[in-house]
């Protein structure tokens, strides 16, 4: 097997070729270390004739649940102890495949809990600089012509432990999993705006949620007219309460916080409201003391989900490296992977369909020879933007921006096959304090 880049990276088309050309080599899979320790001893069964082929199976269920043997595939919640509804829960990206996040595993960020809203008691008000200020009941909104689109939603604070001086030890999803990807179905926002008739002075919309925080964010009218949607359904079913039931604003590719959940009000204005979450928070302080404000677009990012932090490669051999890439600017055009810490790169295979502002799954075969290796992935999007190296991002932004961390992620594999998170090879850990960023999740 011919290497296409250093330290064992193989042609991305290897698994597609007929005849395979890899002889007796079998494909190996990394294991999650935590599971290895906790793995219960399963009694041996005769798999040629297992017991479940000799007793009737379970009956029907009204709403299916994952297998009990998958009970470790869960979100990782982290909330303020005094205010249980203020925090986040991460999607376990390292335990999932494909590109669509199951609804029960979509990441969460709430500022004061999840309201339980009866849709018959909820209305949307559109007002402000419009000719026809109007209320819309959920019942009526469900009668509009609907459209679907797949896109990711990513919290502006996703991956923010990357600003830390030393690399965080969490699993990939519990570090980068404030991003998820779904098929959203709803009403294109221009349809409703056309009905209420914005006046010429209107340039912004203030969106407000019906939660106990009354989340409020300013949206440029230009974005609303481009691809904004009032979503009612997520992956075929009505949106889950924690994702904004009964109505959520979806702004493909833009910061999660702007995709206002439990949407109750849209006010058209001539300027932004300067809400707390677009001034005090979700702005990025730069080293010179100035701060970036209205950084709405989520820039291209990628990470390898397998092998990834806290997994174990039990033996040398052939592995499939896989991961996710996405960009708020549009389509991912290319993902490069390195196994030697960035000295040489090979192009990974992109799983079709590659959709704009959506998760793109990439894969590349890798022959691990049993010696230390450093894996990284680097995404490029259709605007030509290339995911930055950590040292370049930190040099440009400093370490106190808190939001919008999208640098290349490095996983180091030691000679025993255990995988850990490290920084770029030419960066040393600057501090022993792992939680040294300047703000917590509140």
């Amino acid at each position: 097997m011919q290497e296409v880049a250093g330290n064992g990276l193989l042609d991305r088309r290897l698994f597609l070729k007929t005849g395979f050309g890899i002889g007796a080599a079998t494909l190996l899979a990394p294991v999650v270390m935590k599971n290895l320790e906790a793995a219960p001893e399963a009694a041996p069964v005769n798999t040629a004739s297992p017991p479940w082929m000799h007793t009737p199976g379970a009956g029907y269920s009204t709403y299916g649940m994952p297998s009990k043997f998958e009970d470790d595939v869960v979100r990782f919640p982290s909330a303020n102890s005094a205010i249980p509804g203020n925090g986040v829960s991460w999607t376990p990206l390292h335990l999932l495949e494909g590109t669509i996040t199951p609804n029960g595993l979509h990441y969460e960020r709430h500022h004061n809990g999840v309201p339980q809203i009866n849709p018959s008691q909820h209305r949307l008000l559109i007002h402000g600089l419009v000719k026809n200020p109007s209320f819309f009941s959920i019942e009526n909104l469900l009668r509009y012509p609907l459209r679907s689109r797949i896109c990711f939603v990513e919290c502006g604070g996703n991956s923010n432990a990357g600003w830390n001086k030393s690399p965080i030890r969490s699993e990939a999803g519990y570090f980068h999993g404030l991003v998820s990807c779904s098929e959203w179905t709803g009403i294109p926002l221009p349809v409703l705006l056309d009905e209420v008739k914005p006046t010429k002075k209107a340039h912004w919309l203030i969106a407000e949620g019906a939660d106990a925080f009354a989340m409020q964010m300013s949206i440029p009218l230009e974005k609303a007219m481009d691809d904004a949607m009032l979503a009612l359904y997520q992956n075929g079913e009505r949106i889950r309460p924690e994702n904004g039931y009964p109505l959520r604003l979806i702004l493909p590719g833009w910061e999660g916080v702007m995709n206002v959940k439990w949407l109750r009000r849209l006010k058209l204005t001539d300027c932004p409201v300067m809400a707390r979450n677009e001034t005090s928070r979700y702005t990025e302080l730069l080293p010179d003391g100035k701060a970036r404000m209205f950084t709405m677009v989520m820039q291209a990012k990628s990470l390898i989900t397998s092998p990834s932090a806290n997994m174990l490669l039990r033996e040398a051999g052939l592995y499939q490296i896989t991961g996710l890439a996405w960009s708020g600017r549009g389509k991912i055009t290319r993902v490069d992977v390195t196994a030697d810490g960035g000295n040489t790169w090979a192009e990974a295979e992109l799983q079709e369909p590659v959709l704009s502002k959506s998760f793109t799954r990439f894969r590349i075969p890798w022959q691990w020879n049993g010696s230390p290796a450093t894996l990284q992935s680097r995404a490029t999007d259709e605007s030509g933007y290339v995911q930055p190296q950590r040292k370049d991002l930190v040099a440009e932004r400093g370490r106190h921006g808190f939001f919008h961390y999208n640098a290349i992620v490095s996983w180091q594999i030691d000679e025993f096959g255990s995988v850990s998170h490290v920084y770029d090879k030419d960066e040393i850990a600057e501090s022993s304090d792992p939680v040294d960023i300047d703000a917590g999740w509140d």
Partner: protein
């Protein structure tokens, strides 16, 4: 010859012959069923709690620093700590470290560009345990107390819509509008 039953069909035929206009006509047909129900100005006033940076949306009423301190010590101190510091929730005052220091502290006084945001945020979101329960006078008072703690107003200031919207925060010009510059990139 096709018989025209309705004027709509006739319009459609004319548009089809006109060619280019057809697309916009079809787009109109694709538009919603127009099910919005008119909202009266009283209803809108009851719903709208947004306070604009110029002061639009601020209600009548007023509050003093002393009243605000009493409210703060009853309803806010448990999370935000005495004088806005040392609680388990956000630090609200007393930034010792500047924005360019090794460990910058972003507080109302050192970081917030608009004082109106403070009124808007407290009225809609605080206290976390019972949001939206303070009267407008109480919100003015606790806003005054926090502005006083941050050295923005004097201790004897009576805060109302006019006084609040006239305040220029120290860090007003500390922000780069990335949307205007690069479309939010």
């Amino acid at each position: 010859m096709i018989k025209m039953k309705s004027p709509k069909a006739l319009i459609l035929l004319i548009l089809m012959l006109a060619g280019t206009s057809l697309r916009s006509y079809c787009e109109t047909l694709l538009n919603g069923p127009m099910l919005g129900e008119p909202a009266s100005s009283e209803e809108i006033a009851a719903w709208d709690i947004s306070v604009m940076p110029g002061g639009d949306g601020l209600p009548g009423g007023k509050g003093s620093v002393a009243q605000g301190r009493r409210i703060y010590e009853k309803q806010c101190i448990s999370c935000h700590g005495p004088r806005g510091q040392g609680g388990n929730a956000d630090q609200l005052a007393g930034a010792g470290m500047g924005l360019t220091s090794e460990y910058p502290e972003k507080t109302i006084g050192s970081y917030w560009p608009y004082a109106t945001t403070l009124f808007d945020m407290i009225r809609r979101s605080m206290p976390m345990t019972a949001p939206g329960t303070l009267s407008d006078d109480e919100v003015y008072a606790v806003t005054a107390y926090l502005l006083y703690l941050n050295g923005i107003i004097e201790e004897d200031t009576l805060l109302d819509a006019e006084v609040l919207s006239a305040i220029k925060m120290p860090n007003r010009d500390g922000f780069i509008n990335v949307y205007e510059e690069t479309g939010g990139n």
